[in-house]
């Protein structure tokens, strides 16, 4: 009844379409540029229609990389990003499940202290402790390794809280029943708690995979060798300053490649994504 059909609806659709176009415009230009040759891009303004060099650009980026700046092949960088993102997402979920289980289902001296210690990490993002964290990692010999890229990022206050909140809603009767049946704590964890947590785990996985894939500052500090660059670092290193030398066709192809995995995760797992986003802000 409040909906005035007709003109107002068209205006709404118009504004939304305009919004979608504005948001999608950079993506469109990137896609177009990744199909053109470097000289075609350099004649300002470049054509807004697809060129004929798509296969060439993508093959070159994937197998050889740029010839200036970072010269590592993008396929290698994508692999590193993928491994890093998977380890970070699964690692965060695993250790947060365990610590939430300990905090909720056991009473032991120092329980609240542990809880607060985990909570306080929310207030210590990498950005505020750049140099000393780098020193710790380098003295542990973890520079340029998967361990260095992932382990320091695996601690997670948000995920621990999320699982804690969820465990608190699990009815006590389940624990009782498990105990009467003679199940120990780990058996209860594996056979009751874990299956119940499936949806929370799925939602967190989506959010944490994107988090891991998109990490920038941390890999910037701990990777100094090209063969350990994740794609987010590689793409930055391909831009060598000055439009005359940057191979924009390859940079744009790399940008598209770097966007595909996380975008796929968001669009295909949209339901979990929205749940994860909303839950982790509670």
């Amino acid at each position: 009844m409040v909906r005035q059909r007709g003109i107002l609806d068209w205006i709404s659709h118009g504004i939304l379409l305009l919004g979608v176009l504005v948001v999608a415009f950079p993506l469109y230009v990137t896609l177009i540029a990744s199909t053109q040759s470097l000289p075609e891009i350099q004649q300002a303004p470049m054509s807004m229609l697809p060129g004929s060099h798509a296969v060439e650009n993508y093959t070159r980026a994937l197998t050889q990389g740029s010839s200036l700046g970072s010269t590592a092949p993008v396929a290698r960088m994508m692999w590193i990003s993928f491994v890093t993102a998977m380890v970070i997402a699964l690692g965060k979920i695993a250790i947060s499940l365990l610590s939430a289980f300990a905090v909720v289902y056991f009473r032991f001296p120092g329980r609240m202290l542990c809880f607060w210690a985990i909570f306080v990490t929310l207030m210590l993002p990498v950005e505020v402790r750049i140099v000393p964290t780098y020193e710790v990692v380098s003295s542990l010999g973890m520079l340029n390794s998967y361990a260095g890229l992932t382990i320091p990022l695996i601690a997670s206050a948000t995920a621990t809280f999320l699982f804690r909140q969820f465990f608190l809603t699990v009815p006590d009767e389940l624990v009782e029943a498990a105990r009467i049946d003679g199940a120990g704590p780990m058996r209860f964890f594996r056979d009751v708690l874990l299956p119940l947590s499936r949806t929370t785990i799925a939602a967190l996985f989506v959010i944490q995979f994107i988090y891991g894939w998109n990490q920038y500052l941390w890999p910037l500090l701990v990777t100094t060798q090209e063969n350990m660059y994740p794609v987010v670092i590689g793409i930055k290193r391909m831009i060598v300053g000055g439009d005359a030398v940057t191979e924009w066709n390859l940079v744009m192809a790399t940008a598209v490649l770097a966007m595909i995995p996380p975008a796929l995760v968001v669009v295909l797992m949209q339901k979990w994504f929205v749940k994860g986003l909303v839950d982790s802000e509670k």
Partner: protein, 289 residues
């Protein structure tokens, strides 16, 4: 209902606590300690200087300037980002058909890495070959973010806002859909115009969401835009886009001035703590009418 065991809970907590201690608390302690030390240029010796690093910092015009830039930048990101997303969310809430399609079309930038977002906009605005830069030059605007600090700030802001639109949009849309339609219909019956219905009913009821997003956006602008800035302007030209986080990195990692960088880290920690406490204290209470 609990289990009893002396060692098991510690074993379960061990991985999380170990990482927390080694990579969070130890470095944070180091930062605080180093902020009271003055190192010689070779990094061989250091001496305790108390608060001198902090005093020196606040005497530096470039640090105060960085504060000013951070304030302007986060205000711009929050205000522009929130208004644009709210407009789209209101419209998406209004249309019956296609709302979920618009949602899908608007959420994907969330998945784009901040550094890639920076690269995309850097390309569009690159003075010699960027598509938008060429349009601007045709309009007679001498666009050059490499030389003009204001242009650089505009570029960084646009890239940062673009990346955050999907997040804001999702939360605004959820907030709008939670508002009871009966309230709006009652106002419509009383003859309130659409604009009045929005400002007198929808907007006040949406205030908890808006407030929450405001805090999230400020935190985002403060800390998560590092990659956007590093990719587009690297803090330049002449420090005109060097927000506080970027300056910690520049001074500590590029300039190797450990004392100053650590003092900056400590100041940032205080800011994060303040923002986090603020977030937890006020968000649950809800700015409800």
């Amino acid at each position: 209902m609990v289990f009893h065991s002396k060692t098991l809970p510690w074993l379960l907590l061990a991985p999380q606590l170990a990482i927390t201690l080694v990579f969070f608390f130890w470095p944070a302690g180091q930062a605080i300690w180093q902020s009271t030390q003055l190192q010689d240029p070779f990094g061989l010796q250091s001496q305790f200087v108390g608060l001198e690093n902090f005093l020196r910092l606040f005497d530096q015009p470039s640090y105060l300037e960085s504060f000013r830039i951070t304030a302007i930048f986060s205000a711009l990101v929050a205000i522009i980002g929130l208004s644009f997303s709210l407009l789209l969310a209101v419209k998406a809430d209004h249309v019956i058909r296609g709302a979920s399609l618009y949602k899908t079309l608007l959420i994907w930038p969330y998945a784009v890495a901040p550094v890639v977002a920076g690269v995309l906009w850097l390309f569009l605005f690159s003075p010699s070959l960027g598509v938008i830069a060429v349009w601007l030059q045709n309009l007679g605007i001498g666009w050059n973010p490499l030389l003009n600090g204001d242009h650089a700030l505009v570029l960084v802001t646009i890239a940062a806002v673009w990346k955050q639109v999907s997040y804001n949009f999702l939360f605004f849309l959820a907030g709008l859909q939670a508002i009871p339609k009966s309230l709006i219909e009652a106002a419509a019956l009383d003859g309130a115009s659409p604009a009045r219905r929005f400002w007198n009913i929808v907007f006040p009821l949406l205030s908890p969401t808006t407030f929450f997003l405001l805090v999230v956006n400020v935190i985002y602008a403060f800390f998560d835009t590092f990659a956007v800035i590093d990719a587009t302007t690297a803090g330049g030209p002449g420090g005109s886009t060097a927000i506080l986080v970027y300056k910690v990195y520049q001074d500590g990692f590029r300039g190797l001035d450990l004392g100053s960088s650590s003092a900056q880290s400590v100041i940032l920690m205080v800011i994060v703590v303040a923002l986090t406490v603020f977030q937890f204290r006020y968000i649950d209470r809800k700015v409800q009418y």
